[in-house]
Point group: C2
Chain length 752, copies 2
């Protein structure tokens, strides 16, 4: 016990405490450096001195030499031991698993011990200069006299750092050290180009910095810190862009369940649309609408949703379905609306007649019970749970502004309604890349006309009924064009099969027969005749456009009239009209002929110059393969990667939910292909289509408008494939803007 350290500790702390401290050192050394049996170094003695002596004896017994007393020898042994561990199999494996190079070198910092013990003021603490949750400039941390390491964080006796009316503070105890810490903080930030948390020791009033680590941070703080560093010239804007993982932005755009709140989980499902909301349970879209009319916040729970539920979803603050996957109807609409959504909660059971939900643990919840949906984690929680508010602050906008300066691939939003388009504008999308028009036929008054149209005897009858829809749609489109104020709006023509507009149960059929004043048998026959085995692969999209041309003609009329109305109000509008589900060039020729004719008629009728662009949504593998032929007919192609994925895999997104989790878990698919673009299959068709289209028409506009439009990896793929813009849910637009910018910066950094 002539170890210098023991003596030093004895002077500072007295013999007993020094013995205890030194025993701890011997124990650690024996087990971790000399790799002796830990059992032999358990403390059995009552006094610290006995314990220390027992350990020293045990060491000598095992090693046939006394415990090394030379600090240089001790240090060397420790360093060697760490180097060995670094080279061990498990460390190499861990490095690899975390993406670091297997052969990476080891750096060890050896510092003189600053014990933080004894007088004058000694102790240790941590300090940081911005807050971890919100990134605000504020000194936070703890300091504890007579302590070591990170004791200050755990120990009750810690004091504040800055002057605080609640108690003592380092600033008062040792103002010089405090000032120095602030100076070091600023130096760290400048030199390390990052906001660091500093771990320090005061040793007889002498300040030593032990360590500085990047401060932990919530997404909001991440963005603010990166932007502040760049604004202060500490890092470049490029650096700032690269520091934010695009996915983080999502959390900023939605309310979230407070990470510290306790969670009573009722159901687990697919985290289909991020964000959280509290509301009362309802079990039908009509109830959701009724509740919303009275200002009651509701969570809509259904087995699955269809186009008819869009208004109900609009009226809800969150939605949960028992079926479906990431790209089921409910998931897509929820993301579009920015509504928290959980789908495929297959372990709950729903009784829609009795209006009950039986949770996974068997508890039964009724209509009107209060629940919280967490779409970020894919759970339904009991009762009201504390939520944190979204914050779209200046830093957020600044960062995305920088992203826009840098990126070389466009970002538009998929927005069907005025409300969604408004969100798209808020998130600064460069236009609408996909405006689905189905919902314009589902409003109650319009639905009746649609149904009459379906029962009309001939083309004239259909055209006459559809004509009555035109003024309503002119208003829809005019509002949209005005809102988008000259930005491009890509309108997809009518897509769903007609049977989606008809009731399928007995009551619905009877009501319809009454409403239309037709015999029930005739109504039933028509409905049965329209039923399909595989609606996804049936009479929809351009196939309806070709076989029931009146629908597209009415839509084109409405679009053109609206373009003129919006132009009258001073906006320059060149509508983009997109044909869905094309699989043959002739389909495009036929529809183009009819729409050109409508345009000519509108020009003649209004005597207004009118321009528009026609394009095709590439959703079938065949359309991708014949993209060169199609390209010659149109000004743009937009790859609808959702349907393209369905058809390339032969996999319905609505039905995949049941086994997708299993499939991803077993590694059959490395990822859900509806979530991450499948590069090998769908991606090849996309590249191939893009290449062929470009070869046939150099200046054709190419885009993607599936869910993948908002996924960073998929955006990278699209950019490489020569795609001009991606279009995604409004709430993913910021993600896409940042991800697109990062691709450019990464390329620049790589070529440096």
């Amino acid at each position: 016990m002539n170890d210098a350290r023991h003596g030093e500790y004895s002077n500072l702390l007295g013999h007993e405490a020094a013995d205890e401290l030194y025993a701890r050192f011997v124990q650690t050394y024996a087990v971790n450096v000399a790799h002796l049996d830990p059992d032999a170094f358990e403390r059995h003695s009552d006094t610290d001195e006995d314990a220390l002596r027992a350990m020293l004896d045990a060491y000598e017994h095992e090693m046939d030499e006394p415990f090394p007393q030379d600090p240089a020898r001790q240090l060397m042994d420790v360093l060697k031991s760490m180097a060995r561990a670094w080279d061990g199999t498990s460390a190499r494996f861990l490095r690899q698993a975390r993406g670091a190079p297997k052969e990476a070198g080891l750096g060890l910092v050896v510092q003189a011990m600053a014990p933080g013990l004894g007088p004058p003021e000694s102790g240790s603490g941590v300090i940081q200069f911005v807050t971890s949750d919100r990134g605000e400039a504020q000194i936070t941390g703890r300091y504890l006299s007579q302590s070591q390491g990170r004791d200050a964080l755990a120990d009750e006796g810690a004091v504040f750092l800055t002057r605080d009316q609640r108690g003592a503070s380092l600033e008062e105890l040792c103002p010089e050290a405090f000032d120095k810490l602030v100076e070091y903080g600023s130096m760290c930030r400048r030199r390390l180009r990052e906001e660091m948390q500093i771990e320090f020791t005061l040793d007889g009033g002498e300040l030593s910095v032990l360590d500085a680590v990047r401060i932990q941070r919530r997404p909001l703080a991440s963005v603010r810190i990166a932007v502040a560093l760049a604004e202060d010239g500490v890092i470049t804007k490029d650096d700032a862009l690269m520091r934010i993982s695009p996915g983080l932005l999502t959390e900023l755009m939605h309310r979230q369940v407070d990470p510290f709140a306790s969670r009573d989980i009722l159901a687990n499902g697919v985290a289909a649309s991020p964000g959280a909301a509290t509301g009362k349970l309802v079990f039908s879209s009509s109830e959701a609408q009724a509740a919303a009319a009275q200002g009651v916040a509701v969570i809509l729970v259904l087995r699955e949703t269809s186009s008819e539920d869009i208004r109900g979803m609009h009226a809800s603050v969150g939605v949960l379905t028992g079926r479906g996957g990431m790209t089921s109807h409910a998931a897509m609409v929820a993301r579009g609306l920015g509504l928290p959504g959980v789908v495929g909660a297959s372990k709950i059971s729903l009784n829609l007649r009795d209006k009950t939900l039986t949770a996974e643990d068997g508890r039964v919840f009724n209509d009107g019970d209060l629940v919280t949906i967490d779409g970020t984690t894919g759970t339904l929680l009991e009762g009201k749970v504390p939520l944190s508010e979204p914050e779209l602050d200046d830093a957020f906008r600044t960062l995305l502004g920088w992203a826009d300066e840098v990126r070389d691939i466009g970002v538009r939003a998929n927005a069907d309604t005025y409300e969604e388009a408004r969100v798209a504008r808020t998130f600064e999308a460069e236009g609408i890349g996909l405006c689905r028009t189905e919902h314009m036929f589902f409003d109650e008054d319009r639905l009746t006309l649609m149904r009459e149209m379906i029962f009309a005897e001939d083309s004239e009858g259909r055209a006459a009924l559809l004509e009555r829809l035109v003024p309503m749609q002119v208003k829809d489109f005019t509002d949209l064009f005005r809102l988008m104020d000259g930005m491009p709006v890509n309108i997809r023509l009518f897509d769903p099969p007609l049977h989606e507009f008809l009731p399928h149960n007995r009551d619905g059929l009877r009501d319809l027969a009454d409403a239309m004043n037709l015999p029930l048998s005739r109504v039933t026959r028509r409905v049965e005749a329209l039923e399909e085995f595989n609606p996804m692969l049936g009479l929809r999209g351009v196939r309806l456009g070709v076989t029931v041309p009146e629908i597209y003609e009415a839509q084109a009329t409405a679009i053109f009239m609206a373009a003129i109305a919006a132009s009258d109000a001073g906006h320059v509008v060149v509508p983009e009209i997109m044909i869905p589900l094309v699989s043959a060039t002739r389909e495009v020729e036929l529809v183009r002929g009819r729409i050109d004719a409508v345009a000519a008629a509108v020009r003649t009728q209004t005597d207004v110059k009118l321009d528009y662009k026609l394009g095709v949504m590439v959703e079938t593998p065949r359309a991708a393969l014949i993209a060169h032929d199609i390209a010659e007919q149109v000004s743009f192609l937009s790859f609808g990667t959702n349907d393209l994925t369905q058809m390339t895999y032969g996999l319905s997104r609505d039905d995949a939910g049941r086994f997708m989790a299993d499939y991803v878990r077993q590694g059959v698919f490395p990822e859900d292909p509806f979530h991450k673009l499948d590069v090998d299959g769908v991606g090849e068709l996309l590249s191939l289509g893009a290449e062929r289209a470009r070869a046939a028409k150099q200046d054709i506009s190419l885009s993607i408008c599936g869910e993948h439009g908002g996924d960073p990896e998929s955006i990278a793929f699209c950019r490489a494939a020569g795609i001009d813009y991606v279009s995604c849910s409004p709430f993913r637009v910021p993600v896409a803007r940042l991800a697109a910018a990062q691709l450019v910066v990464a390329e620049r950094n790589h070529s440096k």
Copy 2:
């Protein structure tokens, strides 16, 4: 009127007849050669002489010269006029439309007139030496004294050619001429290498051959004539093969509606499966089976069919459905069974409860009414209609034997059942290229087990139930292997979604709940949970194989046990096991691992050497795109072009029927892609997949097993793409064998 011909006619026929004949000549000449106004050459006069004079005057008035009297001048004018017509726009257009070169030269044969008038024996007739309907060696034709041209065919006074007890004959009237005709016939056959019909004139006992044309023939005669010519060394076997259009063979393999029968058409639909049959109307599969048990021939009429109807279809002599297209379930099964089938008869209406069919014209037919179905033309006919029997004679077999010697692409049959495999053997398929196994789960006793399996709580429960199916399936497979006697049998593992095994209406659910002794609510819930929006794109094929592995394990066990049983009986059996609906390589790895394990277990258990081949059915576009990866896992790939077409187009074959006719009519699709392989889309995927698979594994076996396997053009495409064999419905095997041979011969001829 010093025209030599007029004088000659006067001598032979008397003045009046000569005037009439000459007037006809002048009229024809004026209108067709001199191109004068036909109205001016209408006959207005009462007597022939006046008429003739009027025409000659009219000619002179129009042409400013008398009607040419010089035969040489007349002939030259006629020849010039024909040459002008030959060069005219419409003739060139017609030539082109019929596939002849636009610039083809004109040949004109000028013969001295043999009037066939006057004594001694004069007249005209036609003769042929084999029959047009059956190709049998027999002299047929007509002869009429004092006649010209083909008068003999029309006139009542014609006599027989050969001695006939019913009346006079040429053989008796003028034996020398008759002998000469026989000699000319034989010369024609030898020199023109064809069976010709000879048109002849007897002019004062002198025989002149005016013309010889290829005799008209029915398919049976075509085959017999071609084979006989080749057997006699008149043409080569190659020539014989090229002379038969493969489609003709179909007619020989089925009963047909007598072409001369009168047809009272009740319904028009898609001609889905050729042949004709008469039977009583039934409106359900169970009634069909009941009737068949009593030996009653029935025509099964349904809205559509599903796997459950296969036994009912088996029991019927023909099937008609209101819905569906060329590749709907009903169409495919009907072709597989060689059953006359009409699908998509959308203009009839069916009331399945009252068991009535309302024909297109409104007539109502009931259960038990006699009808005839004509699958060759796609019609349903009232009552019993005369049918002609199929004839698979020696010539048919000889021709196909020659085809087999020549062709370089294999032909197998798609055969699911023992019965179909028997037909495949009859038509000399080289094995089974696709044996679907679903039907092995639908028999009544098996269905119950399947349903219990679906309701089993866990893997052990499922495995135990499936194990009880194994002995039945061992028998199915053993019978098949024995029948195929060492030829390859490619067995596709279970493919359909499980909900196909469950009832969907209220009564069915209640029965099931009773049978399984489960609460109705639980049964209903399970059935609802299994329902799918798009079953075609859902949980089926390898997706079931991965998520419910017990099914494939049971099937593999049955296949291996059967292979051993059949081997014991002296047959060499190397079963080929095919995984359906693959879209990712990992699916194949997982299934392969499990099947290898089953094989190992069976080997251990039986101590028998056991070999098998594993392969993948390429049905998704993605499988074609990653064929190189998949190839490394398997011994064969078989392109399932039906599903591949569905997914490439995004078009369900079951739902396409509703608009396919429209689409083909409007030229949107040049042909129904389920009928003719779509070269641009599906074909590219097929070529691409074949190329990639071959590059990864040179000796991999490549085949196609969709409906296209029996289509000549599609076979040509497959051969060019390096496919090893095609597999098609048994009844299309002869067509495929001949078509494949023609490809080789055509190539030989081309390179000569």
